[in-house]
């Protein structure tokens, strides 16, 4: 997997990204789906700008802001977890992964409260085109956060069992890459759906 090539700057340059290549293929497929979703949103908005601008104002931007901070911070914690296992510090790796999971839980709680608020107001995917995109996009992403958390929890459990080391930690890198993908998608979703008008 990791074929190191010495660069002219004497840093290690890899031929493949960190983690399992199969996971990266999966990540790229997921990114492609989200790219289509985002593009569809932008072009659907063209058909009725006034409607999208009006209903965007009813979204809870503060919750989305908190969730963005949570995902970015969770991603940072995962970077630290990978750094820890590369140093053969398994306990630190587990701690950083658990901290990242806390950020994931925070995201799910905040987003669930937001959904509950919409539910109380009677908002559904049938309400209008804006809500159809908003609910489907954010819920699709919500499911990916849950998936990412399951992966991180499994990686943390295996790290706790001592099944990763400085020499063998592809699983940690793969889980980290997936979690970064979840963060990456939200970084576009947040401004597109909540801010740009």
């Amino acid at each position: 997997m990791s074929v190191a090539i010495p660069s002219i700057h004497h840093e290690t340059v890899e031929r493949y990204p960190p983690g399992d290549l199969a996971v990266w293929i999966f990540i790229l497929a997921e990114l492609l789906v989200f790219a289509l979703f985002f593009t569809a949103y932008a072009f659907a908005r063209m058909q009725d700008v006034a409607l999208f601008n009006e209903f965007q104002q009813y979204l809870d931007r503060r919750s989305a802001f908190i969730n963005t901070l949570a995902l970015i911070t969770g991603s940072y914690f995962v970077v630290r977890a990978v750094a820890a296992i590369r140093d053969d510090d398994r306990r630190a790796c587990v701690r950083w992964l658990l901290a990242s999971l806390v950020m994931g839980v925070l995201f799910l709680v905040v987003k669930s409260v937001e959904y509950a608020h919409h539910y109380e107001q009677g908002v559904t995917m049938s309400t209008n085109t804006f809500y159809m995109f908003y609910l489907s996009l954010t819920f699709f992403h919500f499911m990916h956060v849950i998936m990412g958390m399951v992966i991180l929890a499994a990686v943390a459990w295996k790290a706790q069992q001592g099944r990763y080391s400085a020499q063998q930690h592809t699983g940690v890198e793969s889980g980290a890459s997936y979690w970064h993908m979840v963060d990456l998608v939200w970084l576009i979703l947040f401004p597109l759906v909540y801010v740009m008008h």
Partner: protein, 91 residues
């Protein structure tokens, strides 16, 4: 990458702090109700920059040579370009 120290902090920590700052800027723009094509494209640009930071520094793609260095960048640029185009056409 993760262990390189700049001004007393790891590079990844600086990247994290920068992304928090850029996110706060985006939120402030939304809260102030700023709108219009230039603002939207600026906010989109900030998002693409943050995405690039995640790809390069968190996913570690700045340490990768060749084809695998570019998928995330392309993922940002192609939909980003299409979103920008849609907003321009809608304005």
């Amino acid at each position: 990458m993760e262990k390189r120290i700049v001004f007393g902090l790891r590079v990844c920590t600086w990247v994290w702090l920068l992304m928090l700052l850029l996110t706060t800027l985006t939120y402030a723009i939304g809260e102030r109700g700023l709108s219009g094509l230039a603002i939207s494209l600026g906010v989109l640009g900030i998002a693409l920059l943050k995405g690039h930071l995640v790809g390069a520094w968190f996913m570690g793609l700045n340490q990768v040579r060749g084809l695998w260095r570019w998928p995330v960048t392309l993922w940002l640029l192609i939909p980003g370009g299409l979103i920008g185009t849609a907003f321009i056409l809608a304005s």
